[in-house]
């Protein structure tokens, strides 16, 4: 197989991986940007998204319908979590919120194991997506290309929502100067709830999108959580451009590391994260700082 084919393979693989990182990281970013809650259970919601997608598809629903249903269900779960557990933490210090969301992660992971058991699951993707098409001599699965399209669609949809719709603009404004928005008469409570639901729904979308790509097992949330931390740190808080750049960068580094089996590639990523946290608190493009 010629060098070009391999290059195409690597780029497509890193784009797909980066796309999933992006959706999860943006969800995490929105929740933190708007309500200063760093949700450690975000990885578990991503896993719940994958499992819900699996269950819906196994009940015979078409995959694309499941693509819409799963985020809604995870969003509802997000609402329940926000009302019961996150809201009372509004006034508490950041450290306690972190520890609380960590307990929530334990709880959700345990729930996943209780409901769906331990064995890995596979999503039955529609027949036409199972073929491979050849691009520049390499057979690339059609499904992974549709994942790229879905990721792009989700990001464009999000961009339109944030910039064009009224609610979107309020959310965007609230992430920079929360006090000002509340002075304009918007109930900050709804904004916090809205942000949390939107963040969870994005985790759900990433889950169902990534489901067929990787294995769906209870531990899928853990690695994704750490990768999304790396992305929002390097990309910078509250910046979509930063998140896009960082997500694709990490996707590329991880794919290359696996391709060329450089053992310490991930160490370089963590080192980059450390340098940025310590010396460039705004990340590469971010506006806000991690207080």
């Amino acid at each position: 197989m010629s060098g070009i084919a391999t290059a195409v393979d690597i780029t497509l693989n890193s784009l797909v991986l980066g796309g999933v990182f992006l959706i999860v990281a943006v969800g995490l970013n929105i929740i933190y940007g708007l309500s200063r809650v760093m949700n450690l259970a975000h990885g578990s919601l991503y896993a719940i998204g994958a499992y819900t997608g699996y269950t819906i598809v196994s009940l015979g629903v078409n995959f694309f319908v499941a693509l819409l249903l799963a985020p809604i269900i995870v969003g509802i779960i997000g609402l329940i979590i926000e009302r019961i557990v996150i809201a009372p933490m509004r006034k508490r210090s950041m450290i306690y919120t972190l520890i609380l969301t960590y307990g929530l992660m334990f709880f959700l992971d345990g729930l996943i194991k209780y409901v769906w058991g331990n064995e890995p699951r596979f999503v039955a993707i529609p027949a036409f997506m199972r073929e491979t098409i050849s691009i520049f001599g390499t057979h690339y699965p059609v499904f992974r290309l549709t994942t790229l399209v879905t990721t792009a669609a989700v990001m464009i949809g999000l961009m339109l929502f944030l910039n064009k719709t009224r609610i979107g603009m309020i959310l965007k404004a609230a992430s920079t100067i929360p006090e000002m928005v509340s002075c304009l008469g918007f109930n900050m409570n709804y904004i916090h709830i809205g942000a949390f639901i939107l963040g969870c729904a994005l985790a759900g979308v990433a889950g169902i999108v990534a489901g067929p790509l990787t294995t769906i097992d209870p531990l899928m949330g853990h690695e994704m959580l750490i990768s999304s931390f790396v992305v929002i740190v390097i990309g910078g808080l509250g910046s979509l451009r930063g998140a896009v750049f960082a997500a694709l960068l990490i996707g590329l580094v991880q794919t290359l590391a696996e391709f060329f089996i450089t053992d310490l590639a991930m160490v370089i990523v963590y080192m980059m994260m450390a340098v940025i946290l310590a010396f460039m608190p705004r990340g590469l493009f971010g506006e806000g700082k991690f207080e």
């Binding site: 194991k113 596979f122 491979t132 699965p141 499904f143 990787t214 294995t215 899928m220």
Partner: protein, 399 residues
């Protein structure tokens, strides 16, 4: 007031939990307690569950040891060595088990073996493949899955016996820990001796947590190798096969040889993507002999799941252990160890003898290919068809 109410609830629940632990039921005749260490959570929970079933069947079939009932105490190792060591200590010191059996991964097996002097009980593993278990310790035995060296010999002989597999170039990919490295290195060494072409002698090492195999598969496609030798943990085999199918490897005619026997239940999840995987293993339910057929029916009747090699290894291992305790005539660890040396049991995959020289088992094995399952009582879609059988002596190691 709210806080007070909440505090009393938490106090009550703690008290209740302690009560539940302390109130142990008193048994009439003192049973012989055997400690069972299997992974019930984590990625290999399915294999752990099947091991537990196999040991339970053996205990049921054996009934009594030294004239006393058998009591199995099961603990979850979560395939984490430090937790497995704590659980082993609990089984021996607190519950008073006189022997330990089970263990799925090499790391856990080696960690417990490192503490065996302190525990001072015989320790029989039924699903550990690392070659470090040969002659490791007088109290440590293996009566389960073929070791890495035996599997490598079986796979090389199997490849040589199939014309369509012999002259392929094999791409080697392993899980990144001691068992994977050992399995990969042994196959590469043996394959080179027998003229089987290997594409990457410095084999690929993938972290055990890998979920997305796309970059590894792209590398295999780029290499142009038409054979893949994979040393992956059982439940990851169908995942790898499925993603390889997504990328069209099977469609391009690439054949897969596995350094670990795939589990039937896991294969079901993979569907057709799992057809065409060759591997040397002890047993599959396609083996037809009176003992094997009887055992399969009894297993399926009791547990309603496809009989697997993890279950049958543990069943045979447990029978060997129980017979050894009877032979020793006491629960003294040294006596049981002496009895275990050289003991053998006529099980579903022939005689399984624990070699007196290195405390590890010798038994016949089969060379299988995964195919669409014929009509079968278990409702299995994928089956491991037996192509060739090996005699114990063929696989070695010499005694």
């Amino acid at each position: 007031m709210k806080k007070l109410l909440v505090v009393t609830i938490s106090m009550f629940s703690m008290f209740f939990a302690v009560l539940m632990v302390v109130a142990q039921p008193a048994a009439a005749v003192e049973p012989v307690k055997i400690g069972v260490l299997v992974p019930l959570t984590g990625i290999v929970a399915q294999g752990g569950l099947e091991m537990k079933y196999g040991i339970e069947m053996a205990a049921e079939e054996k009934g009594k040891v030294l004239g006393r009932p058998i009591e199995l105490l099961v603990e979850d190792t979560q395939i984490k060595p430090p937790i497995a060591v704590t659980k082993a200590e609990k089984l021996v010191y607190k519950d008073g088990c006189i022997a330990l059996i089970g263990v799925f991964s090499s790391g856990v097996g080696l960690a417990i073996a490192a503490n065996i002097d302190k525990l001072n009980v015989p320790f029989l593993t039924t699903h550990v493949m690392t070659t470090e278990f040969y002659n490791l310790h007088p109290l440590v035995f293996r009566s389960g899955q073929l070791a890495n060296d035996q599997t490598a010999v079986g796979n090389v002989k199997g490849i040589l016996s199939q014309p369509e597999l012999k002259n392929r170039t094999y791409y080697v990919i392993v899980h990144d820990y001691a068992w994977g490295h050992d399995g990969g290195e042994r196959f590469i060494a043996l394959a080179k001796q027998n003229g089987i072409k290997i594409y990457n002698e410095s084999y690929d090492k993938a972290p055990t947590s890998t979920k997305d195999w796309s970059s590894y598969i792209s590398k295999i496609k780029a290499s142009g190798a038409d054979g893949v030798y994979m040393v992956l943990i059982t439940n990851v085999i169908p995942v790898f096969a499925k993603q390889a199918a997504d990328f069209g490897l099977q469609a391009k005619g690439v054949k897969f040889v596995s350094g670990a026997a795939p589990g039937p239940v896991e294969l079901e999840a993979g569907g057709e993507a799992c057809y065409g995987i060759f591997s040397a293993s002890d047993w599959s339910w396609d083996v037809n002999n009176p003992i094997s057929d009887k055992w399969e029916k009894a297993f399926f009747a009791k547990y309603k799941t496809i009989p697997s090699d993890a279950a049958v290894h543990s069943y045979v291992g447990a029978m060997n252990l129980f017979n050894a305790i009877d032979k020793a005539g006491s629960t003294d660890p040294k006596a049981i160890a002496a009895a275990l040396k050289g003991i053998s049991f006529e099980g579903p995959y022939g005689t399984v003898r624990i070699s007196a020289k290195d405390n590890c088992m010798r038994n016949d094995a089969v060379w299988t290919e995964t195919v669409a399952a014929p009509e079968n009582p278990f409702g299995a879609k994928v089956s491991m068809k037996v192509l060739k059988t090996f005699k114990a002596a063929e696989l070695g190691p010499p005694e």
